[in-house]
Amino acid sequence: MNKRLIPLIVFLVLAVFFAIGLTKNPREVPSPFIDKPAPAFRLPEVGNPGKTFGPEEMRGQVWMLNVWAPWCVSCRQEHGVLMQLQAQGVKLVGLNWKDKEREAAALLARLGSPYLSTVDDLDGRVGIDYGVTGTPETFVIDKGGIIRFKQTGPISEEVWKEKLEPMLKELAR
C-alpha cells in the first residue's frame, strides 16, 4: 500500500468519530436533582399581591417549573412556545429568577402569561436549591412531586416534540 495514504486514512477515521460525536451532547450530564423530590419553597406570586405558591399545591399533577427572568433574551425566545403549550393545557409554573428591576408583572401583562402562576425568587435562593445555573431552565415534575427531567436552555418546538411531550404523556399515565 502507498505509505502516503496513511495520513488520509488517519484523518478519515478521525472524521468518522467526529461525525458520531456530533450526534452526542457532552453537556448532557445528568442533573443530581433528577429522581429526587422537588425542593419545597413558598414564594409570593408575581402580579397577585398577598398570594403565595408552593410546589406541594401541584401534587397529583404532572407539571413543569420554568425558571426565567425578564432580562433573559432566550426566555423571550421561548415565550412563544410556552404560550402554545399553555393553550394545549400544559401546566407551567414560572420561577421569576432574580428580577431586581421588578419588570415581570408588567411584561407578562403585555406579552401574556403562559403560567398557572409565577413566583418571585428575588434573591435567587430557590434557584440555588434547584441547582439553577442560568435561565431558562425547565424542570419536569411528576404527580408524586419528583423531578424527572431538566431542560437546560430554551424549549424550542423540537425540544418539545422530541423530548418533553413524550415524557409528559408517559408521566400522565
Partner: protein, 644 residues
C-alpha cells in the same frame, strides 16, 4: 440599516471569494494569463468587503443596537466602550467573522508581498486561500449570521460574558487567530506546490517567513490566553490542558516542527514531502481546533452556544479541505526524499529527530484531547482527560527536544563528528548537572523534576552561548550577525527561561485557603497577610467588594493587595479579580472567595515563584520569531520587488 449593509457586504465578499478562487486556479492549470491576473484584485476587493462587514458589526455593538441578536446576547448598555468593541468577537458569530476577516487580511498581504513570485504560483496560493474564504463566509451566512435581527428588540442586552471583560482578552483572540489563520498561507503554498509539481527550495524559502510570522502571533496569542487565565480565573493556574487550550497548542507544536523542517528543506533540499505534510497538518489542526470549539463535540470552559447544524457544516468543510489536501498529498507528493545525502550524525539528522519527537508530543496531546470523544462515540461512557495524563506523557517527550536544542545549532549540515561535539559540550553537561543539584537544594527541597528542568535550562543557555562565540570567532560582531541567527538563538534561549519558570512554579508554589475576619493575619511562604476589610465600589457595569490586604515579607518590606469580588449587573454572575504583586522571583497572588459572615471572607493566598519567567519567555520567543521573519534575505526580496 447598518447591519443590513454588513450582511450585504458579506454576501458580496462571498461572491468575490468565489471569483478569487475559481478563475485563478483555472488560469494556473490552463495558462490563461487573464484569469491569473484576477487573483490579486479579487483578493483585495474581498478583503475590503469583509472589512466593511466587520465595521458594520462593530458599529452595531458601539451603538448598542440590541435589535441585532448578536449584540443583544453579548453586549450591555453599561458595558464600557472598549469591551463593546471586543464583544464583537466575543460571540460565536463574531469570532467566526473575525476568522474570515483575518483570513482575508492574510490573503491581501500575500497579494501585496508576492511580486517576485511566479504568477501561476501566486494565483494558486490566492485561489486556495479564496476557497477557504468561501467556506468560512458561507458558514457565516448560512449557519451563523452575525447580523440576524431580534424583533422586537429587547430593552437591554445580556452583557458580554464577564470572564471576557479583561484586558488580556482584548488582544488574545486577534493574536490567536492571526496565528491560526496565518498557517493558511503556508498551507496554500504547500498545496500550490503540490498542484504545480514544483516542490523545490524556492517554495521552502517563500514559505519560511510566513510560517514564522504566523507562529510568532500564535505564540503571543497562547501566552496572552495563559496570562488571562492566571489573572481572571482566580485559581492561580496558568495552563489547564483544557480542550480549547490544546486546540491552540497543537497547531503551535506542528508549526514549531514545520519551522525546523522548512529550514532543512530550504538549505538542503531534503524532507520535502515531510515538510509538505507538516504544512498541511499545521493548518488542518487550526481548522480542527475551530471545529472542536465551535461544534460543541467537546465541552470546555469556552462554552459558546452549540448547534449541530454548525458542527455538521464545519465537519463537511473539514472533510473537503483536509481530506482533499491529504488525497492530493497521497497522489502528488514526491516519491524521492531528495537527492542530497547526509550523515547519521548531522544537523539534518538532529532536526529530523526534533521533528519526530515534536510530532509524537503533538500526537499525545491530540490523543488526550480526543480520547473522551472516542469513548463517548463508542458508547463507553463519559470521561475527561485531565492534567495528570498530559503531564505524564507530554512532559517526558519534551525532554529530548530540549536536550537536542543545545546540540543542533552547533552541529554542521551534511555530517559532523560526534566525538567533537561531546568534547565541546562536556563542560556544559557538567555545569548543568551541578546546577540541577544545587538549585533545588538551595531552594530548600530537592525535587527531581525541578532538577531536570534547571539542568536542561542551563544546558540550553550554554549551547546558545557557544553558538554566539562560534560566530564571533569568525570575525563578525554581534550586531552584524544575521537576524535569522539572532531569532533562532533568542527563541531557544526563551525556552530556558520558560523551563525555569515552569519547573520552579510547579515545584515550589504554595497555597492556603483561609477564613479571615477584619484584622486577622495568615502566614504563607514567609509572608504575613493582614486582612483590613472590604469596601464596596461601583464599576461601570458591576458592583464589587474590594478587599484590602497588607502583606509583609520576611525582610520587612510591605505592600498592599486589592483583590475584588465582582457581581455583574446584567447576569448576576460573580467574578473574582485577583490581587497580584508581581516580582522577578515570585508573585504574591490573592483571590477573594465568599463572604460567609458580614466582613468575614474566605480568601485564597498563593505564592508563585518564578511564574513571571513564563510570560517573559513568551515575549522573548515572539521577539525571536519577529527577528527571524525580518531577516535580511527576506527584506532583500521585498526591496527587489519595490525597484522592479
Amino acid at each position: 440599516m447598518i447591519p443590513e449593509i454588513g450582511h450585504f457586504a458579506l454576501i458580496l465578499a462571498l461572491l468575490l471569494a468565489l471569483v478569487q478562487s475559481v478563475l485563478p486556479l483555472i488560469g494556473a492549470q490552463t495558462g490563461n494569463a487573464r484569469f491569473l491576473a484576477v487573483a490579486r484584485p479579487a483578493a483585495q476587493a474581498q478583503f475590503l468587503f469583509v472589512v466593511l462587514a466587520y465595521a458594520c458589526l462593530v458599529t452595531a455593538f458601539l451603538q448598542n443596537d440590541f435589535s441585532v441578536r448578536n449584540v443583544a446576547l453579548n453586549s450591555f448598555s453599561q458595558l464600557p466602550a472598549v469591551y463593546r468593541f471586543t464583544a464583537s468577537w466575543g460571540s460565536h458569530e463574531g469570532s467566526m467573522l473575525l476568522w474570515a476577516l483575518i483570513l482575508a487580511f492574510w490573503t491581501m498581504a500575500v497579494s501585496v508581498l508576492s511580486r517576485r513570485l511566479p504568477e501561476d504560483m501566486v494565483a494558486r496560493v490566492i485561489g486556495i486561500m479564496g476557497l477557504i474564504s468561501v467556506g468560512f463566509i458561507a458558514f457565516l451566512l448560512f449557519t451563523s449570521n452575525p447580523f440576524d435581527r431580534l424583533l422586537p428588540a429587547p430593552p437591554d442586552g445580556r452583557d458580554l460574558n464577564p470572564l471576557l471583560q479583561d484586558p488580556g482578552m482584548v488582544l488574545h483572540p486577534p493574536m490567536l487567530y492571526m496565528g491560526y489563520v496565518g498557517f493558511s498561507v503556508t498551507f496554500a503554498f504547500a498545496i500550490a506546490a503540490l498542484l504545480s509539481g514544483k516542490l523545490d527550495a524556492a517554495w521552502a524559502r517563500w514559505s519560511r517567513p510566513w510560517t514564522t510570522v504566523a507562529w510568532t502571533f500564535l505564540t503571543m496569542g497562547i501566552a496572552l490566553g495563559s496570562w488571562w487565565a492566571y489573572i481572571e480565573l482566580g485559581w492561580g493556574g496558568w495552563w489547564f490542558w483544557d480542550p480549547t487550550e490544546n486546540a491552540s497548542f497543537m497547531p503551535w507544536l506542528a508549526g514549531t516542527a514545520l519551522i525546523h523542517s522548512l529550514a532543512v528543506t530550504e538549505k538542503r533540499g531534503v524532507f520535502k514531502s515531510w515538510t509538505v505534510l507538516l504544512a498541511i497538518t499545521a493548518f488542518s489542526l487550526s481548522l480542527l481546533g475551530t471545529f472542536l470549539v465551535r461544534s460543541g463535540v467537546l465541552s470546555s470552559v469556552h462554552a459558546f452556544a452549540t448547534d449541530p447544524a454548525r458542527g455538521a457544516f464545519i465537519l463537511g468543510f473539514l472533510a473537503l479541505v483536509i481530506g482533499g489536501s491529504l488525497l492530493l498529498y497521497a497522489l502528488r507528493a514526491p516519491t524521492m526524499l531528495g537527492s542530497a545525502r547526509f550523515a547519521a550524525y548531522s544537523r539534518e539528522s538532529l532536526l529530523l529527530a526534533n521533528n519526530v519527537v515534536l510530532v509524537s508530543a503533538l500526537g499525545s496531546v491530540l490523543l488526550g484531547t480526543l480520547y473522551p470523544l472516542f469513548l463517548d462515540a463508542l458508547g463507553m461512557g463519559k470521561i475527561s482527560v485531565g492534567a495528570p495524563y498530559f503531564n505524564a506523557v507530554f512532559v517526558p517527550l519534551m525532554v529530548p527536544v530540549l536536550f537536542l536544542m543545545a546540540v543542533g545549532p552547533l552541529t554542521r549540515w551534511k555530517g559532523a563528528s560526534l566525538p567533537d561535539i561531546v568534547v565541546r559540550l562536556r563542560l556544559a553537561f557538567a555545569v548543568a548537572v551541578v546546577a540541577a543539584v544545587a538549585v533545588p537544594l538551595a531552594a530548600g527541597e530537592f525535587k527531581p523534576w525541578v532538577a531536570l528542568g534547571v539542568g536542561l535550562a542551563v544546558w540550553i543557555v550554554y549551547g546558545v552561548a557557544l553558538g554566539f562565540t562560534d560566530r564571533l570567532k569568525h570575525g563578525s560582531n554581534l550586531l552584524a550577525l544575521p537576524r535569522g541567527f539572532w531569532g533562532m538563538q533568542l527563541a531557544h534561549l526563551s525556552m530556558a527561561f520558560g523551563i525555569v519558570g515552569i519547573a520552579l512554579v510547579s515545584g515550589y508554589e504554595s497555597q492556603r485557603n483561609v477564613k479571615m475576619a477584619v484584622g486577622d493575619t495568615a502566614q504563607l511562604a514567609g509572608y504575613t497577610f493582614t486582612f483590613k476589610g472590604t469596601e464596596a465600589y461601583e464599576g461601570p457595569n458591576f458592583h464589587a467588594a474590594r478587599g484590602h490586604l497588607v502583606v509583609k515579607s520576611a525582610s520587612g518590606s510591605e505592600f498592599t493587595l486589592r483583590p475584588e469580588k465582582r457581581l455583574y449587573n446584567a447576569g448576576g454572575m460573580p467574578m473574582t479579580e485577583a490581587g497580584i504583586n508581581y516580582g522577578v522571583l515570585r508573585d504574591i497572588y490573592v483571590a477573594m472567595g465568599e463572604e460567609i459572615e458580614p466582613q468575614v471572607w474566605t480568601i485564597s493566598l498563593f505564592y508563585k515563584p518564578f511564574i513571571d519567567w513564563l510570560w517573559f519567555a513568551a515575549a522573548l520567543m515572539a521577539l525571536g520569531g519577529a527577528l527571524a521573519a525580518s531577516d535580511r534575505r527576506y527584506r532583500i526580496a521585498l526591496k527587489d520587488k519595490a525597484t522592479a
